[in-house]
C-alpha cells in the first residue's frame, strides 16, 4: 500500500511540474510581457526599464525555474493589476471557491445517489425515466445560461434569493444548484449502472435466497459495493468543478478564485493567471490522487497496479 501511494505521489508531482511548465511557456509565448506592461506605444527605454525590473529578456527556461523555485516556497510574485502579492489574493479568495465546491458536490451527491439507486431498483419505471431526464438535460444545458435563467426566475420574478454577491449564505444557493447540477449526470449514471451490476451478482442472489429483507440487501450489501467507484468519481468531479467555477462565479459575481481568474484574464494580469492555473491544476491532481488512494484502500485488488 505504501509503495503504491509513493508511486502515485511521484506521478502526481511530475504531472504538476509538467502542467506548470506548459502553462508558463504558453502564457509567455503569447507576446512580450514587457510590452504588455509598458503599453503598446512605449519607448525602447521604458521597455528596457521593465525588463530590468522583471527580467523578461532572459531565456524563458531561466525565468521558469526562478518562478518555480519561488512558487515552491509560496512566493507567487506580485499581481500586475492589484499590486499585491498573488498568494495573498488567492488565499483570500480561495475559501469562497472551496465552500462553493463543497456545497456543490454535496448537492450533486444528495441528488444523484438516491435517484440513481431508485432508478436501478426499478428499471424503466417512472423514477428511472425521471432520473434519465434529469441527467440528459443536465448534460446539455449550458451552465452559464442555466444560471441566468435561475436569476430571472428566483431573483427577479420571485425575489426569493439575491442574484449576485458573496456576503451571505443565501448568495450561495443558486451557484450551488448550477455547479452541483453540472456534476450530477455523471454521478447518477454511475450509481445506477453500478447498482444494476451489483444487484445481478451472485452474493445478492444468495442473500435473497437466504430470505433477507430486501431493503437490507439493498443498503447493506448492494449500495456499499456500488458506491466505491462513485466516491472516486465524486473526487475527480470536485477537481473539474473548481476549474468550472470560473463561469459560475462570474455570473453570480461570487468573489472567489474563479472570479479572480476572470478578472486577471480580462486585465492581462499574467502572474495571477499563472498562479491560478497552477493552483487549479494542483487541486485537480490532489483530488484524483485522493480518488486513487480511496479506491485502493476500499478495493485491495487495485493496489497491484
Amino acid at each position: 500500500m505504501y509503495i503504491y501511494i509513493l508511486k502515485r505521489l511521484g506521478l502526481a508531482l511530475l504531472v504538476a511540474f509538467t502542467v506548470s511548465a506548459i502553462s508558463f511557456s504558453l502564457l509567455f509565448m503569447a507576446g512580450d510581457p514587457a510590452i504588455a506592461i509598458a503599453g503598446e506605444n512605449a519607448s525602447m527605454e521604458d521597455i528596457q526599464m521593465v525588463n530590468d525590473r522583471y527580467g523578461f529578456d532572459r531565456p524563458i527556461v531561466v525565468q521558469y525555474f526562478e518562478w518555480l523555485g519561488k512558487a515552491a516556497s509560496g512566493d507567487l510574485g506580485n499581481s500586475w493589476y492589484f499590486d499585491l502579492p498573488v498568494s495573498d489574493l488567492i488565499v483570500d479568495r480561495l475559501s469562497v471557491t472551496m465552500l462553493l465546491g463543497l456545497l456543490s458536490i454535496s448537492f450533486a451527491l444528495l441528488l444523484a445517489i438516491p435517484m440513481g439507486v431508485a432508478a436501478a431498483m426499478k428499471p424503466n419505471s417512472l423514477i428511472d425515466r425521471a432520473a434519465l431526464f434529469i441527467s440528459v438535460v443536465g448534460q446539455a444545458i449550458p451552465s452559464f445560461w442555466f444560471g441566468l435563467i435561475l436569476i430571472v426566475v428566483f431573483s427577479i420574478k420571485l425575489g426569493l434569493v439575491p442574484a449576485s454577491g458573496s456576503t451571505s449564505w443565501a448568495h450561495f444557493i443558486l451557484p450551488t444548484i448550477v455547479l452541483g447540477y453540472y456534476a450530477t449526470p455523471a454521478i447518477m449514471r454511475l450509481t445506477r449502472a453500478g447498482m444494476l451490476e451489483v444487484l445481478s451478482a451472485d452474493y445478492i442472489r444468495t442473500a435473497r435466497a437466504k430470505g433477507l429483507d430486501s431493503r437490507k440487501i439493498m443498503f447493506k450489501h448492494a449500495l456499499r459495493n456500488a458506491i466505491i467507484p462513485v466516491i472516486s468519481l465524486a473526487a475527480v468531479q470536485m477537481g473539474f468543478m473548481l476549474g468550472g467555477s470560473i463561469v459560475v462565479e462570474s455570473i453570480f459575481a461570487l468573489h472567489g478564485a474563479g472570479f479572480l481568474a476572470w478578472e486577471s484574464i480580462s486585465r492581462n494580469d499574467l502572474p495571477t493567471m499563472q498562479a491560478l492555473i497552477l493552483i487549479f491544476s494542483m487541486f485537480y491532481i490532489f483530488f484524483t490522487f485522493l480518488a486513487d488512494i480511496l479506491n485502493a484502500w476500499m478495493d485491495p485488488r487495485l493496489r497491484i497496479a
Binding site: F144, I156, I246, S266, T288
Partner: protein, 311 residues
C-alpha cells in the same frame, strides 16, 4: 497476392467481430440488423431529427433569415418577438442594436456547428493518434501517452482557453484551435482502451504474420474496428466544444462581436435581463437543443453499434 488475401480475410472478420452472432433471430446481414435497431431507437431518431433541422437551417441561413444579421437599425430596437406582441416583420424581435434576432439566431447555428465540427476534428486526430499508438504498442509508449493524458486532464480547460484567447486575441481561428488542442483527452483514453482489445484479436495477429506493414495494420485492421467508439466520442466532444465556445463568448473572450454567436447573444442579452428575458431565452434554447440532439445522437449510435452495452 498476399495483399488481397489479407484484405478479404480481415473484412470478413470485421463484419462478424462486433456482433459475435449470439442469437440469429432473423437471417439479416449485420448491417441490416443495425439499421433495424437504429430505426427503433427513439433517442437516436429524436437526435437525428433535431440535428437535421439545425443543419438545414445553418446551410440555408441566407434563405431563412429574411434580414441581414449585421445590419443595425436605430428605429427598430428591442422589438419584442411575435409571441410577446411583436409583428411578423421581426418574428423573434430585434436586439438592442436593432438587428433582427431570427437572422442572428439562424446565422449563429453556422458558427456553433462550424466550431463544434472543426474543434472535434482536430482533437479527434490528436487523440486517436496518441490512443491507437499507446494501445497498440503498450509498454513505454503507453506510459508516455498516459502521462500526457494525465497532464492534459490536470489543466483547467476553461481557464487555459480563456487565458489563451485573451492573450492571442479572440477570433474564430484562435477559439477553434484552442478547443481542438484541449479536448483530445477522451479520444485518447477511449481509443487506447479500444485498441488494446482489438490488438489481441486473431486477425490482427494474422495480418502481422502475413507481413503487413505497421501503418497497414493500424489503418486497415485496427482503425475500422474502433471506429464506432471514435464516432461516439466525436459527438460528445463536438457538443462539449459547442458549449465551451458559447461559454467563452459569453465571458467576452471567445468569438468577438458583431459575429452572431449564440453565447455572445446571451451575453449581450444579459444587460437587459431585468425586462427583456426573452433575449437570453431564445439563443439559450437553441444552444440547449443543439447540444441535446448531438448527445442523443451519440448515445444512440453507441447503443446501436454495441447492443450488449445498453443500460
Amino acid at each position: 497476392m498476399s495483399e488481397t488475401s489479407i484484405t478479404s480475410a480481415s473484412t470478413e472478420k470485421k463484419a462478424s467481430a462486433p456482433k459475435k452472432q449470439k442469437t440469429p433471430v432473423h437471417q439479416l446481414s449485420p448491417r441490416a440488423k443495425m439499421l433495424h435497431r437504429a430505426l427503433r431507437h427513439k433517442g437516436l431518431l429524436f437526435g437525428l431529427f433535431v440535428m437535421a433541422i439545425i443543419v438545414i437551417v445553418a446551410l440555408f441561413a441566407p434563405l431563412l433569415a429574411g434580414h441581414d444579421p449585421y445590419s443595425q437599425s436605430l428605429l427598430a430596437r428591442m422589438k419584442p418577438p411575435v409571441f410577446l406582441g411583436g409583428t411578423w416583420e421581426h418574428p423573434l424581435g430585434t436586439d438592442a442594436l436593432g438587428r433582427d434576432y431570427l437572422a442572428r439566431l439562424v446565422y449563429g447555428a453556422r458558427i456553433s456547428l462550424l466550431i463544434g465540427l472543426i474543434a472535434a476534428t482536430i482533437s479527434a486526430c490528436i487523440g486517436t493518434f496518441m490512443g491507437v499508438l499507446a494501445g497498440y504498442f503498450g509498454g513505454r509508449i503507453d506510459l508516455i501517452v498516459t502521462f500526457f493524458i494525465n497532464v492534459r486532464l490536470a489543466m483547467p480547460v476553461v481557464l487555459v482557453a480563456l487565458a489563451v484567447v485573451a492573450l492571442f486575441g479572440g477570433s474564430l481561428l484562435v477559439v477553434v484551435s484552442v478547443l481542438g488542442l484541449l479536448l483530445w483527452d477522451r479520444f485518447a483514453v477511449v481509443m487506447r482502451a479500444a485498441t488494446m482489445q482489438v490488438r489481441k484479436l486473431e486477425y490482427v495477429a494474422a495480418a502481422q504474420v502475413l507481413g503487413a506493414s505497421l501503418p497497414r495494420v493500424l489503418i486497415k485492421d485496427i482503425l475500422p474496428n474502433v471506429m464506432n467508439h471514435l464516432i461516439v466520442i466525436f459527438t460528445l466532444e463536438m457538443a462539449h466544444a459547442i458549449i465551451l465556445e458559447a461559454a467563452l463568448s459569453f465571458l467576452g473572450l471567445g468569438v468577438q462581436p458583431p459575429t452572431p454567436s449564440w453565447g455572445l447573444m446571451i451575453s449581450e442579452g444579459k444587460e437587459m435581463l431585468l425586462f427583456e428575458s426573452w433575449l437570453i431565452t431564445i439563443p439559450g434554447i437553441a444552444l440547449f437543443f443543439l447540444v441535446l440532439s448531438i448527445n442523443m445522437l451519440g448515445d444512440g449510435i453507441r447503443d446501436v453499434t454495441a447492443p450488449e452495452g445498453r443500460n
